[in-house]
C-alpha cells in the first residue's frame, strides 16, 4: 500500500509554523525523494492571527493536496487544538505545546503534551527556535521523514551563523520525545 502521511501545524502568527511546514515538505521532496505538498493559510488577522500549514507526503504522486485524514496535528494554541483535534485520524498523533494548550481533548489518538517553547528557551537558549524543536519532535514521533532530510532542510533555510543553534534545537526536540517515550509505560 502506498505511503501517505498528513501533517497539520497550527498556532498563531509569528510562531514559525508556516516555515516549519515548508521545511517538512522540503525535507520530504528535496532530500528524501518523496512527493510533497505544503499549504499555508492565515486567519482573518493575517500574519498576526491564526496560522495553519498542511503538509502531505507520499511515495506516490499526490492526487489531492488537501489534508483530509490528519496523521499528526501540532498545535501551539488552545483554539487550534479545539478546532482541529477532531480531524486527527484514529490512532493518529496530537502534539501540543503544554504551555499554551492546557485542556487535553479526548479522542482516539495519542497525545503528547510537551512544553515546546519552554524547552527551546531552557535547553537551546532561544524561545524563537520552538518551531525547530517541534520539528525534531515530529521527526522522532512519526519517522515519516528521515532525520538527515529534515536536518538538511533546516540548514538550507537558516543563515550559516545559526546552523549550530538550529541543529541543537532539532536534536533537543528529538531527545525530548525519546525521554518522554521512555517514561511512558
Amino acid at each position: 500500500m502506498a505511503f501517505r502521511y498528513e501533517f497539520r501545524l497550527s498556532g498563531s502568527g509569528g510562531q514559525g509554523l508556516i516555515l516549519a511546514g515548508k521545511i517538512l515538505a522540503e525535507a520530504a521532496a528535496i532530500y528524501d525523494g518523496k512527493n510533497a505538498t505544503q499549504s499555508q493559510s492565515y486567519g482573518p488577522e493575517a500574519r498576526g492571527g491564526s496560522s495553519r500549514s498542511e503538509i502531505i507526503i507520499s511515495d506516490e504522486e499526490i492526487d489531492y493536496p488537501k489534508a483530509v485524514n490528519i496523521d499528526l496535528l501540532l498545535v501551539f494554541t488552545q483554539e487550534a487544538c479545539d478546532k482541529y483535534c477532531k480531524d486527527i485520524r484514529e490512532g493518529g498523533i496530537l502534539l501540543a505545546d503544554s504551555e499554551y494548550v492546557t485542556k487535553v481533548p479526548t479522542g482516539n489518538f495519542k497525545t503528547y503534551f510537551l512544553p515546546i517553547t519552554e524547552i527551546a528557551e531552557k535547553e537551546v537558549g532561544k524561545a524563537l527556535v520552538a518551531n525547530i524543536v517541534a520539528l525534531g519532535m515530529i521527526t522522532e514521533l512519526t519517522h515519516a521523514i528521515s532525520k538527515d532530510a529534515v536536518e538538511s532542510a533546516i540548514l538550507s533555510r537558516v543563515p550559516k551563523g545559526t546552523e549550530d543553534l538550529n541543529r541543537k534545537a532539532f536534536t533537543v526536540g528529538i531527545n525530548a520525545v525519546k525521554r518522554l517515550i521512555k517514561k511512558r509505560p
Binding site: K22, E26, N35, I62, K66
Partner: protein, 243 residues
C-alpha cells in the same frame, strides 16, 4: 536544460512549473496588465537566489475586479486548481487567497494577492519588462512571456514591509524576506545603479528616509541574525547615510 535557475527547482517539479508559467503567460492581459509575479520567483529567475526550496508563485493583482475576472477565466483543461481558502483573507494592508496548481500532480502553491498601492509601484518602474524566454526541458520547448516585478523593486517593498520590521525586532533568523534582501544586497552592494534605483523607488513611495533607516538596521543586525558574511560596504554606507 537551457536555463540556469531551473537547477534550483526540484527535478520532479520543473516540468510542472514551466507548464504553469506558460499557462500564466496566456492568462495575463498584455494591454492592461492584470497581475504581476512578485515574491521569490522573480528573484530566482533573475539569478539572485541560488538554493533549492519548494518555490511558491505569488500573483499580485491590480485590483479586486481583475482578481475576480482571473478566477473565472477559462484555463487549460489539463490544469487542476484547488483552493486552500474559502474566501479572500483580508488584513490591514494585504488580502490573499491561497491555491494549488498542477498539470501533473506536482502541486505548486499559487497565491493571489492584493496589496494597497503596491501594484502601481511595481508597474510604474521604467525598467519594467516581461520575462521572455523559451526554455527547453527534456526536448520540449516552453514559451514564457510573463510580467515579473523588477527584483530591486521587490527589495524596496520588502525592506519597507511591516513584516520585515517585526521580524527584525524579534531577531528572527529564518526570515525569508531578510534572506532575500541580503541575497540581493550581497550581489549589488557596489553597484551605484542599484543604490540610485532603490532610493528613487523608495522616494516614489514617499519613504526614502525610512528605507535608508530600515536598510541600515538590517545590515547592522545581519551578524546577529547569523549572516556574519554581510558587511556594510563603503558604498552602502555612503548611499544610506547621506541625504
Amino acid at each position: 536544460m537551457s536555463c540556469d535557475w531551473l537547477t534550483y527547482v526540484n527535478e520532479r517539479r520543473r516540468h510542472n512549473l514551466l507548464l504553469i508559467l506558460e499557462e500564466l503567460s496566456r492568462l495575463q492581459n498584455s494591454d492592461n496588465i492584470n497581475f504581476i509575479i512578485i515574491g521569490a520567483l522573480p528573484l530566482l529567475i533573475r539569478g539572485y537566489l541560488r538554493y533549492s526550496v519548494l518555490w511558491d508563485i505569488d500573483l499580485l493583482f491590480r485590483d479586486k475586479k481583475r482578481l475576480g475576472e482571473f478566477i473565472v477565466m477559462p484555463k487549460s483543461p489539463r490544469l487542476r486548481i484547488i483552493n486552500y481558502d474559502d474566501d479572500l483573507m483580508v488584513s490591514k494592508s494585504i488580502a490573499s487567497f491561497h491555491t494549488a496548481w498542477a498539470f501533473n500532480k506536482a502541486w505548486f502553491n499559487v497565491d493571489y494577492i492584493l496589496k494597497k498601492n503596491i501594484f502601481e509601484f511595481f508597474r510604474s518602474n521604467r525598467e519594467f519588462e516581461p520575462y521572455k524566454q523559451t526554455i527547453t526541458l527534456a526536448g520540449k520547448n516552453f514559451h514564457i512571456d510573463i510580467n515579473c516585478a523588477h527584483p530591486w523593486d521587490i527589495i524596496v517593498e520588502k525592506v519597507l514591509s511591516p513584516r520585515t520590521e517585526k521580524e527584525l525586532d524579534l531577531k528572527i533568523d529564518m526570515s525569508i524576506d531578510i534572506r532575500h534582501i541580503l541575497s540581493v544586497y550581497n550581489k549589488e552592494k557596489e553597484n551605484i545603479h542599484f543604490w540610485n534605483h532603490v532610493l528613487d523607488r523608495a522616494a516614489y513611495l514617499h519613504k526614502r528616509e525610512r528605507f535608508k533607516e530600515m536598510f541600515l538596521n538590517i545590515l547592522s543586525l545581519a551578524p546577529d541574525l547569523g549572516y556574519q558574511e554581510v558587511d556594510v560596504s563603503p558604498r552602502a554606507k555612503v548611499m544610506l547615510t547621506t541625504s
